[in-house]
C-alpha cells in the first residue's frame, strides 16, 4: 500500500545512546510504582479506605490542601504581580525569599515556623496571649505549613504568565480610564487565567503531599493534624496495607494532576501570549 504524499512525515530519530539512557531513566521512575502497585492489596482496597483512621486522614488532607490552594491564590497572585511588574530594589532577593521553601528541606521550614509561629515562638506567643490562638497542633497549623511550602509553585507559574502577557493591553485599558485595580481585575486576571488554574492545581498537589513541615510544625494528631502523607508514613510500621492503599490514592491523584496539566505547566507561559 502506498502512502499518500500528504501523510508523509519526517521523523527526527533520536541518537541511539540517548534512547538507551532515556529508557533507563523512564524505568527508574516507573519501577518503584510498579513495585508498589504489585504489592497493593487490591481486593481489600475499599475495606482499607473505609477504615475510619484512613478516612479521617483522607478527609483532613482534602480540606487542608484545598484551603492551602485557596490561600496560595489569594496571597500568591498579588505577590506574583508585584514580582513581575513592581520596580523596587531587592526584587530578586524578595523572590528568592518567597520561593525558598520550594528548595528548602521541608523540615527546616517546619522548624522555622515552629520558632516563629509556635506557641512559644517569636510571633506566635502574641497570638496566644492576645487571642488565645495557636497554630501548633491545630488544623490551622497544617494549612499554614502546607501553604508555606505550596505557594511558591503558584507564584512562579503566575509570575511567568504576567511577564509574558502583553502589558500593552493594560496600557490600552488604562488609556480608556480604567484604574489600576479595575484593569487588574478585568484585563490582567482574565489574560493569565490558564496560569492561575495551573498554579493553583500545582500548589494544591504540593499541599496534599506535604509531610516534613507539617509534622514538624503542626504535629501528628489523628483528625486534626494527621494528614494522608503522615498517616502513610506511620502506617508503614503498623499496617503496610494501609500505607500501600494511601500511597495508591496519592499516586493516582498526582498522576491525574500532572497528566491533566500536560503542557499547561511547562507551557503556561507560552500558551499565554496572545
Amino acid at each position: 500500500m502506498k502512502t499518500p504524499p500528504s501523510a508523509r512525515r519526517i521523523h527526527d530519530r533520536a541518537p541511539w545512546p540517548v534512547v538507551v539512557v532515556a529508557t533507563l531513566a523512564i524505568a527508574f521512575f516507573a519501577l518503584p510504582f510498579i513495585g508498589l502497585l504489585g504489592r497493593t492489596p487490591w481486593s481489600d482496597l475499599f475495606d482499607v479506605l473505609g477504615e475510619s483512621r484512613v478516612r479521617t486522614a483522607l478527609w483532613l488532607s482534602i480540606r487542608t490542601s484545598v484551603a492551602s490552594a485557596i490561600a496560595s491564590l489569594a496571597f500568591g497572585v498579588p505577590l506574583a504581580w508585584v514580582l513581575a511588574r513592581g520596580r523596587f530594589p531587592g526584587r530578586s532577593a524578595v523572590r528568592a525569599l518567597c520561593t525558598m521553601s520550594m528548595v528548602l528541606p521541608p523540615v527546616v521550614g517546619g522548624v522555622a515556623l515552629f520558632f516563629s509561629f509556635g506557641r512559644q515562638g517569636v510571633f506566635g506567643r502574641f497570638l496566644d496571649d492576645w487571642f488565645s490562638f495557636q497554630f501548633t497542633f491545630s488544623v490551622w497549623g497544617v494549612i499554614l505549613a502546607q501553604t508555606f511550602v505550596a505557594m511558591p509553585y503558584l507564584v512562579l507559574t503566575v509570575e511567568a504568565a504576567i511577564r509574558q502577557a502583553d502589558a500593552r493591553f493594560e496600557d490600552a485599558a488604562r488609556s480608556l480610564g480604567g484604574s489600576r485595580w479595575y484593569v487588574f481585575r478585568r484585563i490582567t486576571v482574565p489574560a493569565i487565567r490558564p496560569a492561575l488554574i495551573a498554579g493553583a492545581v500545582l500548589a494544591w498537589a504540593r499541599a496534599l503531599g506535604e509531610f516534613g513541615a507539617t509534622i514538624t510544625f503542626a504535629g501528628n494528631f489523628p483528625g486534626t493534624t494527621q494528614t494522608m502523607s503522615i498517616a502513610t508514613y506511620l502506617a508503614l510500621d503498623t499496617d503496610a496495607r494501609e500505607a500501600l492503599v494511601l500511597s495508591v490514592v496519592m499516586i493516582a491523584t498526582s498522576f491525574a494532576v500532572l497528566f491533566g496539566l500536560r503542557d499547561r505547566w511547562m507551557g503556561a507561559a507560552t500558551g499565554m501570549s496572545r
Partner: protein, 240 residues
C-alpha cells in the same frame, strides 16, 4: 490651541525633543523613519511615558510638567488612543470592548451598552456587536478600536500607525473609511505613520521627525515642494 506640547524625553540611548500644537477638529500627522520617536511622542501625550523636561497641556489644563511636579496619570487624561495593532481585549465581545471605557469610569451597564451600540453604528459594525475580536477583519478591528477610544469622548485622539497592521489590498479603502469617520470627530487628532499616503489623505498638517527632532512641518504640498532633508525628499518624492 487645544493641545500645546513642548517637551523632551531623555533616555540613555535615545532622546526626543518636540513642540507640537493641534487645534480641535484638526489632524496632525507625525511622519518619520522607524525609531525616530513617533510612538514615544504619543505615549508621552497619553501619559504612558513621563517627559523629562517641558510641559504638555490640553485645553489649558497641564497634564505633565516635571518642573512643577504635575503628572496626570493616563486614566485621568481626556485622551483616546488607537494602538498600532488595536489591542482589542480578546476575552470580551466587540460591544464590551467599546463599552469598556464607560464601564471603567462608572457608567451603568445598560447606559454603557447603549452608548457603545451607537458608536458601533457610527463605524458601521452593529451586526458584529456580539462577536469576539478574533472573528472580525483587520479593517473592522481598526474601526472597533476607534469606536472604543471615542466612547469616552476624548479631547485628544491619538492614532498610532492605524493602517500598518492591514493588508496592502485593503489599506486604501480602510484609509478612505477612516478619513470619513474622522471628519465626525471634533477632538484634536494626532496620527503617527511612516506612510506619506496616510498623511496626505488623513491629515491637515504634517510634522516630520528624524532622530527625535522635528526637521520640517507644514502642509503636505508645502513640504513636498521644498523638502528640508534627504529623508523627506525620499519620503514624499514618489507620492506627490
Amino acid at each position: 490651541m487645544t493641545l500645546d506640547a513642548r517637551f523632551s524625553i531623555v533616555r540613555p540611548t535615545f532622546s526626543l525633543d518636540v513642540d507640537v500644537n493641534v487645534a480641535p477638529g484638526e489632524t496632525l500627522a507625525v511622519l518619520g523613519p522607524n525609531g525616530a520617536g513617533k510612538t514615544t511622542l504619543l505615549r508621552a501625550l497619553a501619559g504612558l511615558a513621563p517627559i523629562t523636561r517641558g510641559s504638555i497641556s490640553l485645553d489649558g489644563t497641564v497634564l505633565d510638567d516635571p518642573e512643577h511636579s504635575v503628572f496626570v496619570p493616563v486614566e485621568k487624561r481626556p485622551v483616546g488612543f488607537v494602538f498600532q495593532d488595536y489591542l482589542l481585549f480578546p476575552n470580551m465581545t466587540i460591544i464590551e470592548n467599546v463599552a469598556f471605557g464607560l464601564r471603567a469610569r462608572g457608567t451603568a451597564r445598560e447606559a454603557a451598552r447603549a452608548r457603545a451600540g451607537e458608536l458601533l453604528e457610527w463605524v458601521g459594525l452593529s451586526e458584529h456587536a456580539q462577536k469576539k475580536p478574533g472573528q472580525i477583519s483587520g479593517g473592522q478591528a481598526q474601526r472597533v478600536a476607534l469606536a472604543r477610544a471615542m466612547a469616552v469622548s476624548p479631547r485628544l485622539l491619538l492614532l498610532d500607525e492605524p493602517l500598518a497592521a492591514l493588508d496592502v489590498t485593503t489599506r486604501r479603502s480602510v484609509r478612505t473609511d477612516l478619513s470619513h469617520l474622522l471628519t465626525n470627530v471634533d477632538s484634536a487628532r494626532i496620527l503617527v505613520t511612516h506612510d506619506p499616503r496616510d498623511a496626505r489623505v488623513l491629515a491637515d498638517r504634517l510634522v516630520i521627525i528624524e532622530d527625535g527632532r522635528i526637521v520640517q512641518s507644514g502642509s503636505f504640498d508645502g513640504i513636498a515642494a521644498n523638502p528640508a532633508t534627504p529623508y523627506v525628499h525620499e519620503l514624499l518624492g514618489d507620492v506627490s
